[in-house]
Symmetry: C2
Subunit: 573 residues, 2 copies
């Protein structure tokens, strides 16, 4: 008798695993159940459907080769049965059966299995905020959500929208609504900065600046306390600091793995409910696989079970499960946490741990920021790029890299290289300094910015200079009346003069002049140096060091980073 496989969940991992399994073992008797009507869609594309950049919802349901993936497609082309509108109610592990219910007819049934795959995904977390069930309050994870939001936009009835949550989906939604529909959007984030769990504050601030430049208001450290409505439809969002008008609200406050059925069946889970799987993506029951947004796999950097709900990982895991269903021996080693998001001008990407996360995991770590051109400085087309590298002090081990640039593929290139290193090794600073990456002037500087990040981290960790990030520099400036720091602007020519004219505490001393103007510097006060990107200030610091002046702090990333973080106002105004 043919082996029976049941797959629960039909968005990304489920269909992938099923197709792969049948490709390798065409005589498998495979059934996929999903409680929704639509299956197998590109959920990551939903914000682009909301914005209108994607014309038709079917584009998200189509293969690369333009065939819509409906139940008939899978039956005819891939050889398995899809039962949509069918909910899996329980798993009888002893009898190896899944009890399901057809949501349209109410009919219940038992599906026997030899192998079972849990691809149940995750549901958006809805915080228990009063009024969250008012009309026009949405989450954005299903085709139906996207369709209803876009229809509201098309009708022109939305002037103001509020996004609750400043993570991936929240920010992509904000961009979609503001960019394409001209809606006045406010993002509310409880954390100190946007994307707090995956970005350092420096880059979170850069994200906020990009949004602010495009008419998205960002309020951080702000808690949503109530939704108010009129005739059952939302009209206002109340926070702990203000009340905002809103005809549309999108709640993007994280995910909860859909694992009740797994927990009921006694499978091992982590704290958030995600089902624990091993390298073969098997749960604590070897007949049951799980993957994607409902599963917890190992974080390669921390060595602990982790959770990272990303469509790309679901796809890769689906293939591994499919191979194993067909009798293969494929493994998935875990994840390091690599992702990307595009806002308006700015693209942001990261891999591994942020400085905050590294410290929370018990690493004695520092982070260093670099701001540099992404291509040869003499090449006519180039963009600024910011990188923050996180390093364990004692071992010089690199724990993570985060970055931002208007060059979307360029930032992906740097992150992916370090992501790969993190997957294969415990790379040190030196490995990143030496990393062999593709170079020609239209692609990179001869010393690629990723190598520079390693070099700067090396200099900082070896105590060769004291580096402060732009936020710390801005704070020094803010507190200048009490800390008496001496500020040097090392930019060329007269670049620093306009600020000096407004603020005499600011000293415009170009790198070229510093040796002749050493007499102007105090010997009894700390010195902070800034330039455009951090290079001239570093050179200035080296010259001061040569002359025995060592109480010097260098503002990494320079005015470029300060401006991108939106903190130059206090200096330049």
């Amino acid at each position: 008798m043919a082996e029976k496989v049941v797959v629960i969940g039909g968005v990304a991992l489920g269909p992938k695993a099923a197709c792969r399994c049948l490709r390798l073992k065409p005589d498998c008797d495979l059934t996929l159940v999903d409680e929704n009507n639509f299956i197998s869609y590109g959920g990551c594309g939903l914000p682009y459907y909301v914005s209108g950049e994607i014309q038709a919802l079917d584009a998200l349901r189509s293969t690369n080769y333009q065939v819509v993936r409906d139940p008939d497609f899978f039956a005819r082309m891939k050889g398995f049965t899809v039962k949509n509108n069918t909910r899996a109610l329980s798993i009888d592990r002893a009898a190896k059966r899944v009890h399901v219910k057809n949501l349209a007819t109410g009919a219940e049934d038992d599906l026997p299995y030899d192998s079972l795959v849990l691809a149940t995904g995750a549901s958006p977390r809805i915080p228990p905020i009063p009024g969250h069930d008012l009309a026009n309050i949405f989450t954005l994870t299903k085709l139906e959500d996207a369709d209803r939001i876009r229809k509201l936009c098309e009708q022109g009835s939305i002037q103001e929208a509020v996004i609750v949550g400043g993570g991936f989906i929240g920010l992509e939604s904000a961009v979609a609504l503001a960019d394409m529909w001209g809606i006045s959007v406010t993002v509310l984030e409880m954390d100190r900065h946007l994307m707090g769990s995956v970005l350092p504050e420096t880059l979170g601030r850069m994200a906020a600046t990009d949004l602010a430049r495009h008419n998205v208001t960002v309020y951080t450290s702000e808690k949503t306390v109530a939704f108010q409505g009129d005739k059952g439809t939302v009209t206002h969002v109340v926070t702990d600091k203000r009340t905002l008008r809103a005809q549309l609200v999108i709640i993007a406050a994280g995910f909860i793995p859909n694992t009740q059925i797994a927990k009921d069946a006694g499978l091992a889970t982590i704290g958030n409910g995600a089902v624990i799987v091993d390298e073969h993506l098997r749960t604590s029951d070897p007949s049951i696989y799980a993957g994607g947004d409902c599963a917890s796999i190992k974080n390669i950097i921390t060595g602990k079970q982790g959770y990272l709900p990303l469509g790309s990982m679901s796809n890769r895991q689906g293939r591994v499960i499919g191979t194993n269903l067909a009798g293969g021996d494929a493994t998935f080693p875990g994840f390091v946490g690599t992702w990307a998001v595009k806002l308006f001008d700015l693209s942001i990407a990261a891999t591994g741990l942020t400085i905050d996360r590294a410290r929370a995991e018990g690493f004695d770590a520092i982070s260093v920021t670099v701001e540099q051109l992404d291509r040869a400085h003499f090449y006519p087309e180039k963009d600024m790029m910011a990188l923050e590298i996180v390093v364990e002090k004692k071992t010089r081990r690199v724990l993570g890299l985060q970055g931002a640039s208007v060059n979307a593929a360029g930032i992906k290139a740097r992150i992916d290289a370090v992501s790969t290193a993190l997957q294969y090794a415990k790379p040190t600073i030196d490995d990143i300094s030496n990393l062999e990456v593709a170079y020609a002037p239209p692609f990179a500087a001869a010393m690629d910015i990723v190598n520079v990040a390693g070099n700067v981290a090396d200099n900082v960790i070896e105590g060769r200079f004291t580096a402060i990030d732009g936020l710390a520099f801005a704070k020094l400036w803010e507190e200048r009346e009490t800390n008496h720091v001496f500020f040097i602007d090392a930019r060329p020519g007269r670049a620093g003069v306009p600020i000096q004219e407004k603020h005499p505490e600011w000293h415009a001393i170009p790198l070229e002049d510093i040796e002749n103007r050493l007499g102007e510097l105090p010997r009894d006060r700390d010195i902070a140096i800034v330039c455009n990107t951090g290079l001239r200030s570093f050179e200035t610091l080296l010259i001061l060091k040569k002359h025995g002046i060592t109480n010097v702090k260098n503002a990494m990333g320079g005015m470029q980073a300060l401006r991108q973080m939106g903190v130059t106002g206090a200096i330049e105004d």
Copy 2:
């Protein structure tokens, strides 16, 4: 007494090593000698100066922070002495002295050293072709060359130019002359295809197509036999197949390491004369370091000494040597061979071994090509990308990846990820299938093309389907009268019909129709399937397999790849 360091060579590695050394050990007594007038310039930028994209030569001699790197700069800012126009004539290793001659004054001198750095670079190879000393025949590795070539272009006296050699510099030169000056350019390459030592034929053909679309003529398998002139200036280039008019010739026929002085001193070298160094970049004499274009380091993939003259590697090696000069213990593990080049529309990059090179190194290897969108197929902005992955059959070990796309940073991203894997591990196909890279629809497909390359290689190597590249498909078509292959075009709708109308041997059978039209297929002849990119043809192949039809070949990369390789003419005309 301060430690004495002498550095011979002042383009990339020399100044880098010197600056790094003095940063760590400011009391070092360091002298850099170079036989040229200009030092420390971005040699990789020369084609962009020729084209006019870079306005002034000084841009190539400046730091990132816009200071010109002349001898005074190094003395004043970096603390070492530069003797330019000074040639190192010999090394007395026993006495630890370098004998030098000032080329301006003729004065000779001995420079004592504790440590010596050879950064003598490489010189362009000039094949012994009669007439090579005629005026207006250049190489392009020095600022002076670029200046003279650009002046000729500016004077408008060049209508036709010939480039001898289809490698990096040859192609960048061809683009510079044709793109910006409108000169009619011909590239002559002895090999079967462009960039033969670093690209497979598929991608070499794509490079040639990109050039041909922009009025650069490419002749491969063609040998230059003589240069002819009038009044001492070149007028014609004679090949083994034709005579070409040319008022300008650039010879780009590879490099010869400048190591006579090292060989005379008895240092160990490889066949081409490059000085062998170890992981610390020390030569066979532990007091002498070498790096950059004059040195041979280990190829990490083959384990043998190799040679890769690239400015980016020189910079990274310079830093390592600088650290070691200052008493540190830095290492440089070797290289895998990662590079990039931008032509007109197309950017090309690669890492590791090509299929030809892998076989020459004794690997029993195959290569697989993939042609796919670089971003989510539903995302409005996206480009085609072609990748060729090279795999050892027995071990499934990945040996190299080459790729091309109009998305320059996008191709860098894929190559750099695999380059990193090759540096840290002996990655297998499965590692590449599972590689965690940054994803969101504006950056990649959910299954990134680099993962797809692994997946396809897996299917091919496991014998799940027979893959042929576009060139092999074109050859099957060309020989259809004798091989009796049955050709299927699986593209949707009527896409294949125009060809079928011209060539009845071509069968337009869309994937959607194949199951209903199985009766049309012969059971006694081989079948070759093509579609747009290789996806529909693969799906078609799977359906045929299900019905017991297995003598099927799938054209990887589809019509997209065929078109990019310039071989669709025979089919579509």
